[in-house]
């Protein structure tokens, strides 16, 4: 059981420079040979590219709660889904800052008994001109028993 009062909790922020080489590396990893990602200037970020920033240490932002602080047992938490709303362009050379907030907590009875808790974290990415360019929602699920 996760306390629903965590909705609205700020998860802190992060920073990410959209590097040309990282775009090429990411495009190759998702088997995408579209030459647009390999061009010298203004290569766009692939649709799921910002995942490459999720594992970076925060630079600048930070200070927010961590999942473990919210009463989640990370051994029972799985990535259930991911949603994106594309609000503007993200290109090589851009510098993004992000801020995340817990936007939803809901419960569902599992097929094999026990309660599954879905936790949604919404991240807004803003570019160096102050424009919001991406909303990303990460849906995590905590199962009631240890994942096995």
């Amino acid at each position: 059981m996760v306390d629903k009062s965590i909705v609205g909790t700020e998860m802190g922020g992060g920073g990410m420079v959209v590097e040309r080489g990282k775009i090429m590396e990411f495009a190759r990893a998702i088997l995408d040979e579209n030459p647009v990602y390999f061009q010298e200037n203004d290569a766009p970020a692939p649709l799921t590219f910002t995942m490459a920033g999720a594992h970076w240490p925060t630079s600048g932002g930070g200070g927010g709660a961590k999942l473990a602080d919210l009463g989640l047992d990370l051994l029972r938490v799985l990535h259930a889904g991911q949603e994106y709303e594309y609000l503007g362009e993200i290109k090589a050379g851009d510098s993004l800052t992000s801020r995340s907030v817990i936007s939803d907590v809901s419960e569902k009875e599992g097929k094999r008994g026990g309660t599954m808790t879905f936790i949604t974290s919404e991240t807004t990415f803003t570019n160096q001109r102050g424009e919001d360019v991406l909303k990303s929602r990460t849906i995590l699920v905590q199962t009631s028993k240890a994942a096995s």
């Binding site: 190759r28 998702i30 766009p44 999720a54 990535h79 991911q82």
Partner: protein
């Protein structure tokens, strides 16, 4: 695969795409390359010992690996820069040796402001018929007019 970059006039509600080339022989190398590119080094995706210790037959792909590969079929279809919303949910594990096949279905065709939009549902299935990933897409398509 061909980058079609479909036009609004070419798409009808109910259209299904089932001729996208499958990805054969999914391998550990795919997962390791995605781990490096994304920075997600969860050992469940590259260390068989860890995966087997918690009951999986072997390592399996990152959900976001499948989501990334699916996203490139999407952009080959509707064009880079035309995607307005993209969402995925992870349904099953993608194991080494699998063949992954994606399909799409156009659910809705409509105007939104100045844009010609479509909503579509997406799915990725392995060669045993296990659903690996479900997805949704909203795209703004160019018009021939």
């Amino acid at each position: 695969m061909d980058r079609i970059n479909v036009h609004f006039e070419d798409v009808q509600e109910g259209d299904e795409i089932s001729d996208w080339a499958p990805i054969e022989n999914i391998s550990r190398s795919h997962f390791v390359r995605y781990a490096g590119a994304s920075g997600d080094f969860n050992p469940m995706h590259h260390d068989d010992t860890v995966a087997q210790n918690v009951g999986y037959p072997s390592v399996f792909g990152h959900g976001m690996f499948s989501a990334g590969v699916l996203s490139h079929y999407v952009t080959d279809w509707v064009g880079v820069g035309n995607v307005r919303k993209y969402g995925v949910s992870f349904r099953g594990q993608l194991y080494p040796g699998a063949t992954l096949t994606f399909t799409a279905k156009v659910d809705k065709k409509y105007k939104e402001g100045d844009e010609n939009r479509i909503d579509a549902t997406l799915q990725g299935v392995d060669d045993k018929g296990t659903v690996i990933i479900n997805g949704t897409l909203t795209a703004a398509l160019p018009s021939r007019g």
